[in-house]
């Protein structure tokens, strides 16, 4: 606070003119000097034999010299000095309060800018050390998950040693939790326990708490023995109160974020799992993005290629296995088939034991490439089985292109993603035909017509068939691209003779057919499809065929 001077008092509010008129009217002469003897008012005069001091705050700030009447002026100046001094004191106090408000205002603004607990602690400690001059400082928070106090921020590692706190927790707690906030001048027990630096002479601390729940404490340390005052304690408590609320919010926020992340992750896992039960492709076809949007009765009709695959003689095979072995067998088989289908833009509509029903919404050749890859996978699967001394397996694949309804059936409490279509039945039956025709892959003419890159596949026409329950016969084809290299070469070599055989067979020229199939057998004795037609041709040659026979093979079994 600036010192009160007599000069400023006289200068104020026309005091000097009052003095002038007093002197004029009273006819007395006087002079006013400050402590250094400098004349502030009036003139030095021999008659000034009386001296009256002017005092402010028990300190002389000047003197009035004159005759007896100078006493009145001295009393007036003393009175004004007293008033001025009081005014200054009050002003200084108000200013101090204002500074405090300003400090708290700025502090809360700083706190509002962060939502991170450690950052809040750093800001708080900085602010506290700035306003309460201290050599050291730390903020300790109780870690609920670890059930121990944690030094979140500290001016130096050694001021509050974390490892010592862990071991000497009780000593710290005795001091910290004894009160709300306090000044500690006896630090011997803490120093002895090694919790604080030996040079720390006194501590000031305030609890960080929300609704009487202790969260921790802010502690400042000084190397002096009596540096802290009640005003400091009050200020620290105010800072601690604000910091506590901010830390509490930050911790809550953190907890919310963490929990919502966990929920999101759980959701993601659920979606991932449901996606494995109901393919995303299926849901997308229904015009939805996520499974929760699916409703009972949703349906869509599409032209697709349906692929059916089945393990040959699975019944016989499974009889030799325990149910558990069986399950493992099917799983390891499906593990190979599924990716082959997805890699070629298909999705598995259903696993039906050893059978697989897959849908290809795009190009027909996708399905054909998938079928070939599945055959290759079976070869690899068999190589494994042979090493283990197990019998190799074979699969048959049938496919057909046509319209298909995908939809959600069931009832309000139990839904299922279903496909309803004759296309599925036909594909399934073509798959069954592979057993009779001794082929690996059979595709319908409907598929064949849609394949734009036939040159990429090895295909041959294998006649007409009337499926059970169907009025019209359909043309079918064999794809042997998935066969062994040797088989492919031989089938290519005999392709034209085979076609001649088929031609003869379908035109009831059974002799021509028999000759052709025999020629095929000479080059490729393992061509069981040719053998199948040779046997049929021989049969019809011997037993004759009806007048309206059109070469259609009637399949009465499924």
């Amino acid at each position: 606070m600036a010192r009160l001077t007599l000069k400023s008092i006289i200068a104020k509010d026309g005091i000097d003119s009052m003095l002038t008129s007093f002197i004029e009217q009273s006819g007395s002469s006087l002079c006013v000097e400050d402590v250094s003897g400098k004349i502030l008012f009036g003139t030095k005069n021999g008659n000034n034999i009386f001296e009256y001091p002017v005092v402010a705050d028990e300190e002389q700030i000047g003197i009035v010299k004159g005759d007896e009447r100078a006493n009145i002026i001295a009393r007036l100046l003393n009175h004004l000095s007293k008033k001025e001094s009081e005014k200054k004191k009050l002003g200084a106090e108000v200013l101090n309060l204002y500074k405090e408000i300003n400090l708290i205002f700025n502090f809360s603004e700083k706190l509002a800018r962060t939502i991170d607990a450690p950052a809040i602690c750093i800001i708080t400690l900085d602010e506290a050390r700035h306003v309460i001059n201290s050599d050291n400082g730390a903020i300790i928070l109780w870690d609920e998950s670890k059930k121990k106090p944690e030094v979140v921020v500290s001016s130096s590692e050694l001021f509050f040693a974390q490892n010592k706190i862990n071991h000497q927790l009780s000593i710290l707690l005795n001091i910290i939790s004894s009160g709300q906030s306090e000044i500690v001048t006896d630090t011997s027990s803490l120093t002895a326990a090694g919790i604080i630096l030996p040079e720390v002479q006194s501590l000031i601390y305030s609890a960080l708490k929300v609704n009487d729940r202790m969260m921790g404490a802010i502690v400042l340390g000084s190397n002096e023995s009596m540096p802290y005052t009640a005003a400091h304690l009050k200020l620290l408590t105010t800072l601690a109160l604000q910091a506590s609320a901010a830390i509490e919010s930050a911790l809550l926020y953190e907890k919310n974020i963490r929990e919502s992340r966990e929920r999101e992750e759980a959701m993601r896992l659920v979606y991932e799992a449901t996606g494995k039960f109901v393919p995303y492709e299926f849901i997308r076809s229904l015009g939805h993005k996520i499974i929760t949007d699916v409703r009972l009765g949703d349906q869509v009709e599409k032209i697709v290629t349906v692929l059916f695959s089945d393990i040959r003689d699975y019944t016989t095979l499974s009889e030799q296995m325990t149910p558990e072995e069986n399950f493992k067998f099917v799983c390891s088989f499906n593990e190979r088939m599924g990716p082959a289908i997805r890699r070629n833009n298909g999705f598995i509509n259903q696993y039906l034991g050893d059978a697989i029903m897959a849908i290809f919404p795009g190009k027909v050749s996708d399905a054909l490439y998938a079928a070939i890859e599945m055959q290759k996978q079976v070869d690899e699967f068999n190589a494994d089985r042979i090493i283990k001394g197990q019998v190799p397996i074979r699969i048959g694949i049938g496919m057909h292109t046509g319209s298909l309804i995908m939809g959600i059936t069931g009832d309000a409490d139990r839904l299922d993603a279903t496909t309803i279509s004759d296309t599925v039945n036909i594909a399934s039956r073509l798959e069954s035909l592979t057993k009779y025709y001794k082929t690996n892959i059979i595709l319908s003419d409907a598929c064949m017509e849609q394949i734009t890159d036939k040159e990429n596949f090895h295909l041959r026409y294998i006649g007409l068939v009337q499926l059970k329950g169907k009025q019209r016969s359909i043309k079918i084809h064999e794809c042997f691209s998935g066969n062994t290299e040797e088989d492919i070469i031989k089938k290519q070599k005999t392709l034209s003779v085979f076609n001649e055989g088929m031609d003869g067979y379908l035109n009831k020229s059974f002799n021509t057919a028999i000759d052709a199939f025999l020629t095929v057998a000479e080059v490729h004795p393992e061509d069981q499809t040719a053998e199948f037609f040779l046997i049929n041709a021989k049969h019809y040659l011997k037993n004759g065929v009806p007048e309206n026979w059109a070469g259609v093979l009637e399949m009465n079994s499924k």
Partner: protein, 127 residues
């Protein structure tokens, strides 16, 4: 010429707070003038030529913006350093403050140290 600071605020406690903040400058010969509204402020500025004015924005009769505009744009008293004081949360005033020619703008509650430093800087007083 003596150094003069004019403090303009309609609230008496703010006037005395600023005065109290700058009190130590009094010892260095700085004279304080006060005004409690815009009209009074304009009058004092023209009569007394203060070098520095702390000017509250929100005042009855004539607000601080208008006082500032008149001083800088009409009276063309470019050398008068004007500090506009505005309540926190009304920082949008800053742009308008620049438009009317204010030299700097500060928010209330003000930081006493900042105010004192600014006064010393403007009046070219040694710290």
């Amino acid at each position: 010429m003596s150094k003069k600071i004019l403090i303009v605020d309609d609230e008496a406690h703010i006037r005395s707070l600023i005065e109290q903040t700058l009190e130590e400058l009094e010892d260095e010969g700085v004279e304080f003038l006060t005004a409690e509204n815009g009209e009074q402020a304009l009058e004092i500025i023209q009569l007394q030529n203060p070098q520095l004015v702390f000017l509250d924005v929100m005042m009855p009769k004539m607000n601080g913006m208008e006082v500032c505009r008149r001083v800088k744009k009409e009276l063309l008293l470019e050398k008068v350093y004007i500090v506009l004081l505005t309540a926190k949360g009304q920082e949008l005033d800053r742009l308008r403050g620049q438009e009317v020619g204010a030299d700097i703008y500060m928010t209330k509650p003000f930081d006493p140290e900042v105010i004192l430093d600014k006064a010393r800087e403007v009046l070219q007083l040694e710290n």
